[in-house]
Amino acid sequence: MTRLRIPPTAIFGIIVLALFIGFALIGPWIVPYDPETTVGRTWSGPSAEFWLGTDNIGRDILSRVISGARTTIGLALVTTLLSFAIGVSLGIFAAVAGPRVDAFLSRVIDMFLSVPVLIMALIVLTALGSSIPTLILTIALLDSTRVYLVARAVAVDVATRDFVDVARLRGESLPWIMAHEILPNALPPLISEFGLRFCFNFLYVASLSFLGLGVQPPQADWGGMVRENGQAISFGILAPIWPALAIAIVTVAVNLIVDWLLSRNVRPSGASAEL
């Protein structure tokens, strides 16, 4: 392990993420107001009293952004992990289980991909009812199809390497090959994909609230907050900006860190020659 020089961008990312994770952990104890009760006028602007102003029913936005960190980040994290668990295992399976399985799975995934998200969401949610677990499951399922595409592409490439043949000849089981031979080598691109997907899933919550779904009130989640207050922006009210910014900052932070982690053990590509 050589001494690691952390680039400024990554440092920024780490600080931001630490901050918000801090919020997620100790949020309830540091919020200036109860994030779930009305404490002021509707949509009053930033003031000494309410640093970020109040929301659509007069709750303190700062408090809601802070306390929303737990729900939002937690939700996105669990969802993404789940969707990767599904998508990656299927994708790798398709890559190693032979052309027939591959073709079949890929067609099935195609099918699900070509059904509009709205319909799929409605199906799953009417099938399972709408609650946090179902929300997570729905988003995870919808997302896993896209993860599958990436995972498969990478895995197919890895599966052609000799050491996979060696493992086969050793008589290893398919799951073992998937877990020990393919997965570790498919990891880097998957991690960078994870960075993106993780952040997309913040937004999924918001876009599903288009169906009137999402985190149950009065709980705060950033996507939902942007939606509840969204219309205010058309009159220059800043209320929806703050949760939106929170999402943006975390997105950038996470990906900066991911990029750094990946760039560490990768030698510079030819692009940087001759510079």
């Binding site: 961008t9 070509s114 709205l118 319909i119 996507g223 692009a271």
Partner: protein
């Protein structure tokens, strides 16, 4: 090649059918039906029963699907349950507008994305690269409707440069229509550009360490030419795939943008149909979306083969 296309087309057809089945079953699984949704709260059991009978909703599922498929094979999309008008008529203008918006957005965002991707690949690890990356992330991390609202606030309400109602009417001239569509195009471009740009960058970088790139440098080829002439063609396949995926998204997934900019496309049409359980309409939309998605994938795969001589030639390297 021809054989390959034929096989893919056949597979696509199978997928398409299964999509319609899925959509059909799914929408029928949803509680309530056209009768309850149209008659609403005032409905009495007997009016419901009568209405269902009128709409033919009391036939068994299989029969209804079969009939739908049969009509489809005879080029008939059927009638809307709610308006009792032939779907083909109503859906056509919607389809046109959706394709128009998607097409124009693609026209803007694809070259932009690839250009920026090349740019940041060429300046890997520099400040420019970072700025582009962060900008892209920021762009996609705003909820689409919110990006749209911001655009409306600035360019429509405050500056008054562009209308926020983007509906295109026959009486509008070309430039007027274009002018009306600027905001939704920008909003959508924000959504899709980032993804394509990132992919362009990564796949270019992935080939940049190839010996033939070094060879090009050693032949005295300038940097820009090395990337565009030598790297890009070999990095094309994944880029094409991602572009196709985003185009599909532009056709299928832009309900929110349609609503906010009052751009009556297929998305909104389908949402309404689902809400009213107007299953033939939902089916029609599902079908179109399916075709769009599968078609685009097919095209991208074929393109990927065409840009790669190694795949183009019949005997694949082993």
């Amino acid at each position: 090649m021809g054989r390959y296309i034929a096989i893919r087309l056949a597979l696509g057809l199978v997928t398409l059918i299964s999509v319609t089945v899925l959509v059909f079953v799914a929408t029928n699984l949803l509680p309530g039906d056209a009768a309850t949704e149209i008659l609403g709260r005032g409905a009495t059991p007997e009016t419901l029963a009568r209405f269902r009978e009128q709409l033919g909703l009391d036939d068994p599922l299989v029969l209804r699907y079969g009939k739908w498929l049969w009509d489809l094979l005879h080029g008939d999309l059927g009638q809307s349950l709610t308006t009792q008008t032939p779907i083909a008529e109503t859906i056509w203008p919607r389809l046109v507008s959706t394709l128009r918006l998607a097409g124009l957005t693609a026209l803007v965002s694809v070259p932009l994305a690839i250009g920026l991707g090349i740019l940041s690949a060429a300046h890997e690890g520099t400040a420019l690269d970072r700025v582009l990356a962060i900008g892209a992330l920021a762009a996609i991390s705003f909820p689409e409707f919110f990006t749209a609202y911001l655009l409306i606030l600035v360019f429509s309400v405050k500056l008054g440069w562009f209308p926020n109602l983007s509906t295109i009417f026959p009486e509008m001239g070309f430039w007027e229509s274009l002018h009306a569509m600027v905001l939704p195009i920008v909003a959508l471009a924000c959504l899709v550009t980032a993804h394509m740009m990132r992919m362009t960058r990564t796949s270019i970088l992935s080939v940049m360490s190839q010996p033939y790139i070094e060879m090009a440098f050693l032949k005295g080829v300038p940097r820009g030419a090395v990337i565009t002439r030598h790297a890009l063609p070999n990095a094309a396949a994944p880029i094409i795939a991602v572009v196709a995926m985003n185009l599909a998204y532009l056709v299928v997934g832009i309900v929110v943008i349609e609503v906010v900019f009052v751009y009556p496309g297929l998305g909104q049409y389908m949402v309404d149909a689902v809400a009213k359980r107007d299953i033939p309409v939902v089916q029609a939309c599902g079908l179109i979306f399916g075709i769009a998605f599968i078609g685009l994938n097919l095209v991208s795969d074929i393109l990927a083969v065409l840009v790669n001589p190694r795949l183009r030639s019949p005997n694949r390297g082993r």
